[in-house]
Amino acid sequence: MASTRTSAAATPAGRTLRKSRPRYGERLIEGTLFAAALVSIVTTIGIIVAVAVPTVEFFRQISLREFFTGTRWTPLFADPSYGVLPLVGATIVVTVIAMIFAIPLGVGAAIYLSEYAGDRTRRVLKPALEVLAGVPTVVYGFFALKGITPFLREIWPVGDGPAIFNALVAGFVMGIMIIPTVASLSEDAMSAVPRSLRDGAYALGSSKMLVATRVVVPAAISGIIAAIVLGVSRAIGETMIVTIAGGGQANLSWNPLEGMLTMTAFIAQAGSGDVPTGSIDYKTIFAVASLLFVMTFALNLFSIRLVRKYREVYE
């Protein structure tokens, strides 16, 4: 190959800067690589087709009105009813509980790692936080159901306490699981805030806490919100914790001490049985999955846009 370049250079001046001959091998390689990159596009199309087709068939049988405004969810019963609100309500309850823990703890951990911790502390604590993200979710579910819930039922001071399957413990454990997601993206955003902003605030006499809360956090706010939105998306989509510890009965209630069935838990529960293809039960799983996909898809796109925004400002 090198020799062809040399000979090309030896030809009259007009040809040296032009390509001497087309390289079909190189084009072929580029084409192959592009095809590999297309696999991810095909995946997205595959997901959309996989959820959309049975969903459309579902709505031929069940009206949109019944699905979105009905308050009873009993699709697998003899007297089926297809109101999705109990599933959406349960998902919201669990997600809100998870974020009550994940937002303050995640952002707090991020401020500490970015503004307070020395290099050596950070090198120990960051990987430890990442381990939390690497623990499989069945393990979290197991710990919630067999470890935390019995303990909580024993020490509960007033009233009946949480049921064996309940939204509170599932949400709490999920919140802990999401801390690394919120913390690591928020910390990236805070670290991208230029040092000059901090120095300016120090020069005006600000204390360390004021610099963190009034300068760094506001400057990194779009990144922090992106992290939180991504955390919400993960909470909505998380399956095993709620399937194991959240309960299996659809329940339109805002009481977190009760068991309730989230959208993901319904999909896992109904989908793990041997449902005949094309039956209304089968289509129901896909209808709920469509709703889940649309919700998380919107949140993810919003989060990605926010990240791009703060990158444009400071990088």
Partner: protein, 300 residues
């Protein structure tokens, strides 16, 4: 990176002027921040302690040698699940790593980022990375297992998990390739190498440690996934090891989930012990990733 510049504020000049006197509000704030990290990390410690403590009575040879059983939790094992996990993850690696690395090369070395289709590719990959794993299970159920008729086999599980972790592999690969300085590429091109020769002989070897680390971390995510495989219809209590890619199988997370579902309390030690095996496999893979990163990482 900007990170190193922005950090290190802990020794800012202001404190020395203050003479160490700090108002209580500052101290409380600092304690609150430390507590948030402390809560997260002590939760991890308690969780690991609980699993180890409850699993200890069943961490024995039976666990590795016997097949899962609903009847005799005191001697039941998880051998078919462990072998199933190894089969599935090996096949997943064979599918996802080549496709992921090739996509990463295309996006970093060939793609013109101003073209709309390349922007779509980029955003699509970021979005796929955050799609819930259960949705990949829906894809596996509707398209791979039933649409293509692959059923519940090692192959259909591996394809589903490959698509699930592909975005993570691509993102890791892109970062590794981006970290190779342009001077290496220009040097190679100036010596007359073609674009592909430059990538194959210079860029890729330099990007191997980063790619390998990222791929191993992605695969360890796949090992812990239960939800998508549940949807494929994964069975528990399979009494044989897989003998090919079209064999039926079960994997550790699914088997653990089924142990947890049993109402008898003597399944708790068995579930804990199986979790310990799963965590040990993850620990080995993560250690390997860290070892590779430290041993082969080059600073330019």
């Amino acid at each position: 990176m900007t990170t190193t510049i922005a950090r290190g504020t802990s020794d800012s000049p202001v404190r020395s002027l203050r003479g160490g006197r700090r108002p209580p509000r500052e101290l409380l704030f600092r304690i609150a921040l430390q507590a948030s990290l402390g809560i997260a990390i002590s939760f991890l410690a308690v969780l690991l302690g609980y699993v180890l403590w409850t699993g200890l009575p069943r961490l024995d040879a039976d666990l590795l040698l016997n097949m899962p059983s609903t009847l005799r939790p005191e001697t039941a094992g998880a051998q078919s699940a462990i072998m199933g996990t190894l089969w599935v993850i090996t096949l997943t690696a064979l599918i996802t790593v080549p496709i992921g690395v090739m996509s990463a090369i295309y996006l970093e070395e060939y793609a013109d980022p101003t073209r709309w289709w390349n922007k779509v590719l980029d955003i699509n990959i970021q979005n796929l990375a955050a799609v819930p794993s259960i949705v990949y299970g829906i894809l596996g159920l509707g398209v791979i297992a039933r649409g293509l008729g692959l059923g519940l086999t090692v192959l259909s599980a591996a394809i589903t998990l490959s698509l699930l972790v592909l975005p993570v592999v691509i993102i890791a690969g892109r970062e590794a390739i981006r970290a190779v300085p342009n001077s290496i590429r220009f040097g190679s091109l100036a010596l007359g190498a073609t674009k592909w020769q430059t990538i194959w002989k210079q860029v890729l070897p330099a990007a191997v440690p980063g790619t390998a680390t990222g791929s191993i971390l992605a695969l360890s995510r796949a090992i812990g996934e239960a939800a998508p495989l549940l949807l494929l219809g994964a069975l528990a209590y399979i009494s044989f090891n897989p003998d090919g890619v079209l064999s039926q199988f079960t994997v550790l997370p699914v088997q653990i989930y089924d142990f947890i579902k049993q109402s008898r309390e003597d399944f708790v030690p068995l579930a804990s012990a199986a979790i310990c095996v799963l965590l040990v496999i993850l620990l080995v893979m993560n250690s390997l990733a860290i070892y590779l990163r430290n041993k082969f990482q080059r600073r330019w």
